[in-house]
């Protein structure tokens, strides 16, 4: 934004010259630039990292060796093309430990890490009888809370102070925020206060442009800001970093491999568009195939697909309920759900996040009171929850909700944007995880953006309902249909989890273990080859569902290991121990920027997502990690080590008492034990 600000922001960390990334260049001259404590601390961590690595292996000793046995020929060129990356001390592109001769990996290590150790696998499954961890808010020491409030107060006061003087001494910088020429400002200085005075300070954590695949690693387009984050300038260089930020749970963000090959074939055969909306001639056979496959995957009668996940909620919820209906919504539901709810015209009530007692008392109240004013009974009550909350990492307490549903007769809508693929022994989401019959849930919604490396969303349920939605949802008539490459990515990735029955029918229909005997829903085994377009051929690793199964189990291991690792290190985290989304509480607004910076400036750069108000409550600013099946155990080790160091420097360890904490080497050494605890 070119919105010149009169006074320099004392907290914006300024980089003095484009090429000079003071933390990457480990030259002595950078000392002169250490203007702030932040830069000093950061440089410290750099020096540590350097020291640690100096006794490691020499960086370029392995490539030839590992290339020959571990990377398929097609991927060689991606690796070798990246001339800037032959310096491979960090193990991002080429595994630090070369594979043995009998290990064959078919993925590109930088996209999907090589990990052959069968010990590093877990099954994602609820053990019946155990309690489901609710949303516990662990409070930090008072001084942290206090300093957080004070930080915000200072920030706000300072912001107003700067606005006050800025407007007087540099009015031109505020012109666009004030009424001028008879136009009211598009965005007044009040509305934009948080953006200008708080977010701008930490803009370097946001909207970082990247290139290439957002897989296990990611390539950042380096940038710097000469004017306290008002403009960001790309330097033209790139940095490869370990990626624990993308919603790539099952690691399907890949430019190489079986799925990508099929997508390439699709583009050749179908092009990139279907020319229109679903109901006006934009329906392709690929839509039919993938909708049927999604229904099979989820174990329900029918499903529909829409070209954007956000719009799946916002455009279909209004087709379910309207005036005279009530929506009960978890207080932390996603913006897209709230958007749809507002469009629907139904009344809304919210209950405390994942709190079943609060939900039940609300249900009793609304059913007994009926509609506002008239007290007529509600036409329908729709409960909308998410399977896995993307900011908290909590799982919805599905068993309890099913219990309530039997008693209170509401309809249930579960947004499985983050949970589908990521949870459950078969990867079918929360219903699978808790072993609940998916057909007993009225509406299953989810997105393909996350686990499947595609885009868009689905709604699944019984046939009559889905047919109704096809006609009455906004998308069918007014929004573009999903494009063929995306459809094929969905088909290929889902099929590789389910497995495909090749003509001689194999009997390997059992995968994973199935839960208790009383309420077993058996997910259909491999799909018949006829469920896929005839020209689609998947490599055996995919069609046998071996790789798919591996992805599910790797993700669970990584999530459980990483989560317990952070807890054992003493951090405050939220969420379910098996959740692939792991928020680490940072509290102080100032620390978020630092955390981000210090992780990124390490020898092995790690990129993280930081979220603060307004996406979270004011005090509970957090770092959000999204673990992926693509990570190897070494990657998780590396991230834990980084968190350990950064956590010490930033004073973030306020979780379990010191006596119960483990040393980082213990955690790394006993990872399997931790993950299976």
């Amino acid at each position: 934004m070119p919105t010149g600000s009169p006074l320099p922001s004392p907290m914006a960390l300024k980089r003095s010259s484009p090429q000079h990334s003071m933390f990457k260049k480990r030259s002595s001259q950078s000392l002169s630039h250490m203007a702030s404590a932040a830069s000093y601390l950061s440089a410290l961590s750099q020096a540590d990292a350097r020291a640690r690595n100096s006794n490691g292996m020499s960086p370029t000793s392995t490539p030839a060796l590992s290339l020959s046995s571990s990377v398929t020929s097609s991927s060689e060129d991606t690796v070798l093309n990246e001339d800037d990356e032959l310096d491979n001390g960090d193990g991002l592109v080429i595994p630090t430990r070369p594979p043995t001769s009998e290990q064959v990996f078919t993925t590109v290590h930088s996209e999907f890490g090589h990990c052959a150790n069968e010990e590093y696998r877990c099954v994602s499954q609820h053990t019946p009888g155990t309690i489901i961890p609710g949303h516990v808010e662990q409070d930090p020491p008072y001084y942290i809370l206090l300093s957080t409030y004070i930080s915000y107060l200072i920030l706000i006061c300072l912001g107003h102070f700067r606005d006050f003087f800025g407007k007087r001494f540099n009015p031109s910088a505020y012109r666009h925020l004030m009424a001028h020429d008879g136009y009211a400002p598009l965005n007044s200085d009040f509305d934009s206060f948080y953006t200008r005075r708080l977010k701008l300070r930490m803009d370097e954590c946001f909207s970082q442009p990247i290139t290439g695949v957002a897989g296990r690693t990611i390539q950042l387009l380096d940038r710097y800001s000469p004017d306290y984050n008002h403009t960001q300038i790309l330097t033209g260089t790139r940095t490869r970093a370990l990626n624990i930020s993308s919603y790539n749970y099952l690691g399907f963000a890949q430019a190489r491999g079986g799925c990508a090959d099929v997508v390439e074939e699709t583009i050749k055969r179908y092009g990139v568009t279907t020319c229109g909306t679903r109901l006006e001639g934009g329906t392709s056979e690929l839509h039919t195939f993938s909708e049927a496959l999604v229904a099979q995957f989820l174990g329900v009668e029918d499903a529909l697909i829409s070209s954007m996940g956000f719009a799946t909620n916002s455009n279909y919820i209004p087709a379910l309920v309207g005036k005279g209906c009530l929506i009960i919504s978890d207080e932390l539901n996603h913006a897209s759900i709230r958007f749809g709810v507002r469009l629907s015209g139904a009344s809304v009530r919210t209950f405390k996040h994942n709190d079943m007692a609060s939900l039940e008392s609300l249900l009793r109240e609304v059913i007994s009171q009926g509609q506002l004013k008239t007290h007529r009974p509600w036409k329908k009550i729709l409960l909308i929850v998410e399977g896995l909350y993307s900011m908290e990492g909590t799982f919805v307490n599905l068993p309890a909700i099913m219990e309530l549903k039997r008693k209170y007769k509401f309809y249930l809508f579960i947004d499985e944007a983050h949970s589908v693929g990521a949870l459950g022994p078969h990867g079918r989401g929360v219903a699978d995880y808790f072993n609940v019959d998916p057909r007993s849930i009225d509406i299953l919604m989810g997105t393909f953006t996350k686990s499947f490396g595609a885009a868009g969303g689905y709604i699944a349920g019984n046939k009559a309902l889905i047919d109704r939605l096809r006609l009455r949802g906004y998308s069918g008539a007014y929004a573009e249909a999903m494009t063929p490459p995306v459809l094929t990515q969905i088909i290929a990735s889902m099929a590789s989890i389910m497995g495909v029955n090749l003509p001689p029918p194999s009997t390997s229909s059992r995968h994973g273990s199935v839960g208790p005997a009383d309420e077993i829903y058996q997910y259909p085994g491999p799909v018949p080859a006829s469920s896929l377009p005839s020209w689609v051929t998947l490599p055996t690793a995919l069609s046998s569902s071996e790789e798919g199964r591996d992805r599910l189990r790797r993700l669970t291991f990584n999530s459980r290991y990483f989560h317990s690792g952070l807890v054992k290190l003493g951090f405050i985290t939220y969420g379910h121990p098996s959740s692939p989304v792991i928020p680490l509480l940072v509290f102080n607004p100032g620390k978020m920027n630092m955390f981000h910076r210090m992780m990124k400036d390490r020898k092995t750069p790690i990129i993280v997502v930081v979220v603060a108000y307004p996406a979270t409550p004011l005090v509970t600013s957090r770092v959000r990690f999204c673990v992926s099946a693509a990570h190897t155990k070494e990657d998780i080790d590396c991230i834990l080590r980084a968190c350990d160091e950064v956590g010490d420097i930033l004073d973030l360890k306020h979780g379990i008492p010191k006596s119960e904490r483990w040393a980082i080497e213990d955690i790394v050494g006993r990872a399997v034990e931790l993950a299976n605890a």
Binding site: Y149, N187, S192, G271, S284, W378, K407, A479
Partner: protein
């Protein structure tokens, strides 16, 4: 009312006195004016914000005291029940079914949706018949669908980026491919910048509420499309309507608002004109230069939806601004569809840097959704390249449009509201007894303008068409044409959900890839089908 002096009077006067004193004291404090203005203005714009900052202080106190109290239900109409009564009420309550099964008409509608096998484009193969049809329904105006250059670029992008972006734009979902398409669109149109959304529909429903808030004024055309209606509903702004594509009526409405404001001496609020370039509902085209003139004169901001004109009209497809030779920078927020105009996916909003940057934080569909697959933005960029370098596309497109209109304009059982240059042609059934407007009737009608507070125009009572019968007839036409090898589509509407019912129509989309001969032949079949089905009706 206290008509006689009561003993309470001294107390009242004391309270009033002291309040006044307090107020005076407050205003005598230095800086109080600012505080007052701050609270007032922030309260008006976003009551939540004032609250929030208040709460901030309260929170500190609260955490120190740690007294968690839950608000209880003390609404006026709250009825107290015992637990047992509640249980009974719960038992008694029977919800309506979640959805009603489809009617036979709806089943028919759904089952006759054509399914394309393989490449979509001018000559798709249909799953139902296994035969190739000529498509006049696919939105492939410039023939970019199936273009081999685009395919090659898309495959290249696939091998570089994979398929999904796996993250919202704010969190590592912005690739250089997205930045490139944003830059390409801005360059192409001649605006400062552009911002990409991952779906056309959501572009509109995100952009409008990002700027138009409660208390703002939107002046909108009565014929705006469904997404715009929904976007305005979300915005909670005050909406005033002007007659469909009638800029005279627009000016009257603008004058009316100005007069009202002067009278009320209300504060200056944000004011927007929202309309479409080529209307999705009927293919009419707005008179852009006149619109710009009005917008500037009355100091409104213009939100122009060019979903059906960007990439479709103009010498090189830059849309209405090119057609009318108006700089695109004169349009404050120019919306377009990458899915329709460039045959990829998503939509964009072009404007000044301020306008787009604002959306990167406030556009809901931008912030809370994954960015579009990079390979689709690469396809979009390549689409722009092709449009830029081959103006002949638009010559053949317009030639086809003229050819089609030459045939259709002579069919007398239909009316075509669409602009002669619009490649999207809507065909409506001509009402059997349309009285050619009696001069005196016309004069009578134009005396009183429609009420700008309502979307229904004044002549709505004269509408003599019946949605259901016309839908059935048009469905027959579509089937008839399909049986002769021409795929056309009825324009789909969500009946009962549009703010005003839209007259059923068949929507033809011309394409530059068909030759003039092919177009004439296909349109000829459409004409024959129309005559066959509608002619029957007359008898």
């Amino acid at each position: 009312m206290a008509s006689t002096a009561t003993p309470l009077e001294p107390i009242f006067s004391f309270v009033v006195e002291s309040l006044l004193a307090l107020e005076r004291a407050f205003y005598s404090l230095p800086g109080s004016g600012i505080i007052e203005r701050y609270i007032r203005s922030s309260h008006q714009n976003d009551p939540g914000r004032t609250l929030l900052e208040l709460i901030l202080v309260v929170l500190v106190i609260r955490t120190l005291l740690q007294s968690r109290t839950r608000a209880d239900r003390t609404g006026k109409s709250f009825i107290k029940f015992s637990d047992k009564e509640v249980d009974e009420l719960v038992d008694e309550w029977v919800p309506e079914p979640l959805s009603l099964p489809l009617t036979s008409q709806e089943e028919l509608e759904l089952s006759s949706v054509p399914v394309v096998v393989g490449q979509s484009g001018p000559k798709p193969k249909l799953a139902a018949t296994g035969k190739v049809a000529v498509s006049l329904s696919g939105l492939n105006f410039t023939g970019l669908a199936g273009n081999e250059h685009i395919k090659a670029k898309a495959i290249e992008a696939l091998r570089k980026y994979g398929v999904g972006s796996c993250g919202p734009a704010g969190f590592y979902g912005t690739t250089d491919a997205h930045l490139a398409l944003e830059r390409d669109i801005a360059d192409f149109l001649g605006t400062e910048t552009a911002i990409l959304y991952s779906q056309g529909f959501s572009t509109i429903t995100s952009v409008i509420p990002a700027f138009c808030k409660r208390g703002d004024i939107i002046v909108a055309d009565r014929g705006v499309s469904f997404p715009i209606q929904k976007a305005m509903q979300i915005s909670r702004s005050i909406i005033r309507w002007y007659d469909h594509n009638d800029l005279q009526s627009l000016e009257e409405v603008l004058q009316g608002i100005e007069k009202e404001r002067k009278k009320k001496r209300g504060p200056l609020t944000r004011r927007f004109i929202v309309t479409e370039g080529i209307f999705e509902k009927d293919g009419l085209m707005v008179d852009l230069p006149k619109l710009i003139e009005l917008k500037l004169k009355y100091k409104y901001r213009l939100i122009l939806d060019e979903s059906y004109s960007f990439g479709i009209v103009g010498r090189t497809g830059r849309g209405l601004t090119e057609l009318y030779n108006v700089p695109a920078s004169k349009v404050d927020m120019l919306l377009g569809s990458v899915a329709i105009g460039l045959c990829a996916a998503g939509g964009f909003c072009a404007g000044t840097e301020f306008v787009t940057e604002h959306q990167r934080i406030n556009g809901l569909g931008f912030v809370f959704s994954a960015s579009m697959p990079p390979l689709l933005s690469v396809s979009g960029s390549e689409g722009i390249n092709i449009l830029r370098s081959s103006p002949s596309i638009f010559e053949s497109l317009q030639e086809n449009v003229r050819a089609a209109r030459a045939i259709l304009d002579r069919v007398d059982c239909i009316t075509i509201p669409s602009h002669p240059a619009s490649p999207m042609i809507h065909i409506q059934i001509r009402s059997p007894s349309v009285p050619t407007l009696h001069p005196s009737a016309a004069a009578h009608l134009s005396l009183k303008p429609s009420n700008p507070s309502f979307i229904l125009p004044k002549d709505a009572s004269n509408w003599d068409w019946d949605v259901e019968t016309e839908e059935v007839l048009l469905h027959e036409v579509v089937e008839e044409a399909l049986s002769q090898g021409v795929m056309i589509a009825k324009a789909q509407r969500l009946r009962g959900q549009e703010m005003v019912e839209v007259r059923p129509s068949i929507r033809l989309a011309m394409t530059s890839t068909l030759t003039k001969k092919e177009t004439e032949k296909a349109v000829g079949i459409v004409k024959a089908s129309l005559v066959k089905v509608l002619g029957k009706r007359r008898l």
